[in-house]
Amino acid sequence: MQAAIETTLSLGMLIAIPILIAALGEAISERAGVLNIGLEGVMEWGALVGFIAVTSFQSLVVGFTAALMIGVIFGLVVAILTVSLHANQFYTGIVLWIFSLGVTGFIHRMGFWHASTLDTSPLDVVIPPFDRIPILGPVLFRTNAMTYVALVLTLMVWVLFEKTRAGLWIKAAGHRPEALDTVGVSVVRVRYLCVVMCSVLAAIAGAHISLIATGLYYSAGFFEGIVAGRGWIAIILVNFGSWRPLRILFGAILIGASWALQIRLQTLLPGYPVHVFLMLPYVVALMFLFLGRVSFPEALGRAYVRQR
């Protein structure tokens, strides 16, 4: 029984990681006032590019780096459209999402890249003797290097928001960009950086999904629509967590746990169609949708047009 709980929880943690990373990125972007609704799209790109890079170069480092680069490109596109050209942020995000779905599917089917065996064991981390702690041990100490990266990232984002000058600027850009502009800090520059950071994190999260997370319960490698709505869930998490990293972490763990739980339930209750269980994490996310909402960055979603 304990073993079952432990394996489920540790699986849940691993599944939560990409959602967490993507949500942290989205939190940065939204705090600065830019809704990156195409998050799901850039995650698909990260998943695809990471996968292609790893199967072509047999290196996980190359994989994540490639994902990082595609994140930068995508982020710049979004930034140019929403910050410089003042396009509607919802419209931009949804179109980019649909665009990403179509194009990544196409590129994947071009068929060059087969799902050769993907070995992600170099990233596995086990820390004895901590991994023997009941319940928490396997969750935190028999896991994957990216888990630690994600946790450190959470802390870094917290520090960014609360302790740095940049954090003050980001929050100002999201609440009242005019105020930031009139003290001489470029709102445009702040928003560009935030949007790019968001996309980079999302792309890395996508790579995590195709390289690591999916391999835990299915088989690693890209397929069309692999992100399966986790980008949207990440956006919901940001809201639910009131744009605060620690609360987002909490929400991500809940989602991850529900995802792992439904996988276990599939094997425990074979009489029911699989799809009944597949719904579980989305239903949890639905509850989050209804529960979240505190003080909004007021300028969120609106383009900042400086009076000339």
Partner: protein, 511 residues
């Protein structure tokens, strides 16, 4: 131009499509001087000031600081040259604390990354002491009063060692006590060696007391530069726009019955700041009741409660003899109440055509419906044409979008469509804000004439001249309550001003 000028603007010209906002304007400020820039709305002061602060770039002319020509491409440049600005619409972030707002963009840092809060606090404390600017720097802006917020905005400029401080309409939305404090502070800043430029309209002559020089702007050019000693108020008024505002007289409303009676209306707001705390007053038939008060004391909430957008927690509203406390906007409009909001976005839709905007008043009326489902656009277009002519609205084509009209014309159209439904009571909130003088007078005229047939008007305004000019009685709102009601004929500005800030003892009488 004396060489002791800190700032010199020479032949500044700035054009926008269809209008020359600044026409070869020259202006200079000396060290230790308070040099006011005077002009009504549209005269060009805002543009000039934004050029000085780097928000706009001039089409022609040059700016000199300490004698050296400079180009100010952004507020960052201006700040670097020691220019600070206290904006009329305060550039503060409500969610941030005062401390965060003051240091934003100029944070003392260690490692160039992390904020050094203790150094910031020390510096602010020092500045506060020096100029008597007491303020709780850990409070969030949204919890502070307007006067306190302004002090923080001033601290912002001082924190950056501003040599020149521009004040945009500094006294327009604060009460007499804060005003007096501000004027003392401005004098202190100037005596300390800074140059101060307050930008004001004709509505605020108190600033004359402390100015050394005044430059008057009219229609984009300099009408004259005067030293304070040579000033007389009439001279200045004439220089600004030639005419002098008269005041209308009103027939007595004693003995008439009330069209609206508000009793003890209470409405809670988010965070408790903007609320109604037991508002009671009445409006008699055939009168214009003024509601004076600094903005932010519950006027917007009162309007929402009267229209039915929000429901009072306690208290009653009786309109035309019936209890309407629970009625929503559709019902109130049908009963003969109309509301003109301060925020024009509530009265008009910029994206829609003039005709469609006029339809806002008529879409639910059976007279304008065909077959119960269709809207009779032809009839609405007719009505629109009538309003446009009767109210002298200047426009391009009838199918143009509302936002292509100037502010004054939009407001006239809004007034027209509302009056065309012949409401028994209109509540207008700052209907003349930001309008040119001709449009203002037009609106006063229409409102004054409207009550002749026994209808009533509530005029909510911050402009005491306006209120004393056309209202019969004036009620004063402060912190969600009526602090007093006076006859306009016998009231003085000081008395009303005092009620606006609660300085006078509270008397809940009805005039």
């Amino acid at each position: 131009m004396a060489t002791s000028s800190v700032i010199e603007l020479r032949e500044i010209t700035k054009r926008f499509p269809g209008i020359v906002a600044n026409d070869h304007i020259s202006f200079d400020v000396r060290r230790g001087e308070i040099h006011a820039l005077l002009g009504e709305n549209g005269a060009g002061k805002s543009t000039l000031m934004k050029i000085l602060f780097g928000i706009y770039q001039p089409d022609a002319g040059e700016i000199r600081i300490q004698g050296a020509p400079v180009v100010l491409k952004s507020p960052a440049d201006a700040i670097r040259h020691g220019i600070g600005m206290v904006h009329q619409e305060l550039m503060l972030i409500p969610e941030f604390t005062a401390l965060e707002n003051i240091i934003l963009g100029a944070e003392p840092a260690w490692g160039a990354v992390f904020v050094d809060t203790s150094r910031a606090r020390r510096r602010i404390a020092e500045l506060s002491r020096r100029y008597g600017l007491t303020v709780n720097i850990d409070a969030r802006i949204k919890d502070l009063s307007v006067g306190e917020r302004q002090r923080i905005e001033i601290l912002k400029t001082l924190f950056r060692d501003a040599d020149v401080i521009i004040f945009d309409e500094p006294t327009s939305s604060i009460g007499p006590q804060d005003k007096a404090r501000l004027l003392k502070l401005v004098r202190a800043l100037a005596d300390d060696g800074r140059a101060v430029v307050p930008f004001i309209t004709h509505k605020l002559p108190e600033v004359f007391e402390i100015c050394d020089r005044v430059t008057v702007l009219r229609n984009g050019h300099v009408e004259g530069v005067y030293a304070r000693a040579d000033l007389s108020p009439e001279q200045l008024t004439r220089a600004m726009f030639g005419a002098v505002l008269g005041s209308a007289s009103q027939p007595s409303t004693r003995g008439r019955d009330a069209i609206l009676t508000v009793t003890d209306v209470t409405l809670g707001g988010p965070g408790g700041k903007q609320t109604l705390n037991g508002v009671s007053f009445d409006v008699k038939r055939g009168e214009i009741l003024g509601i004076a008060g600094v903005s932010g004391n519950g006027q917007v909430e009162l309007g929402e409660a009267l229209l039915g957008l929000r429901r009072a927690d306690r208290g009653t509203i009786v309109f035309d003899g019936e209890d309407v406390t629970a009625c929503g906007p559709a019902e109130m409009l049908a009963r003969g109440y109309a509301h003109i909001f301060e925020d024009r976005a509530m009265n008009a839709v910029g994206d829609l055509s003039l005709r469609d905007n006029v339809a806002l008043s008529f879409y639910s009326s059976p007279r304008f419906t065909k077959a119960g489902l269709l809207l009779d656009y032809a009839k609405i277009a007719e009505t629109c044409a009538g309003i446009v002519e009767g109210y002298n609205v200047k426009y391009g084509h009838a199918t143009d979008e509302m936002r292509t009209l100037s502010g004054g014309n939009q407001q006239k159209l809004i007034l027209g469509r509302i009056l065309a439904t012949f409401p028994m009571l209109i509540c207008a909130h700052n209907p003349t804000k930001g309008l040119d003088l001709a449009s203002c007078h037009f609106i006063y005229d229409r409102l004054s004439r409207y009550i002749e047939s026994g209808n009533s008007v509530i005029l909510v305004s911050e402009d005491l001249d306006e209120l004393l000019g056309i209202c019969g009685r004036i009620a004063v709102m402060y912190e969600g309550r009526m602090t007093g009601i006076r006859d306009a004929a016998s009231a003085t500005k000081e008395e009303i001003g005092g009620l606006m800030t609660g300085d006078f003892p509270v008397s809940r009488g009805r005039g």
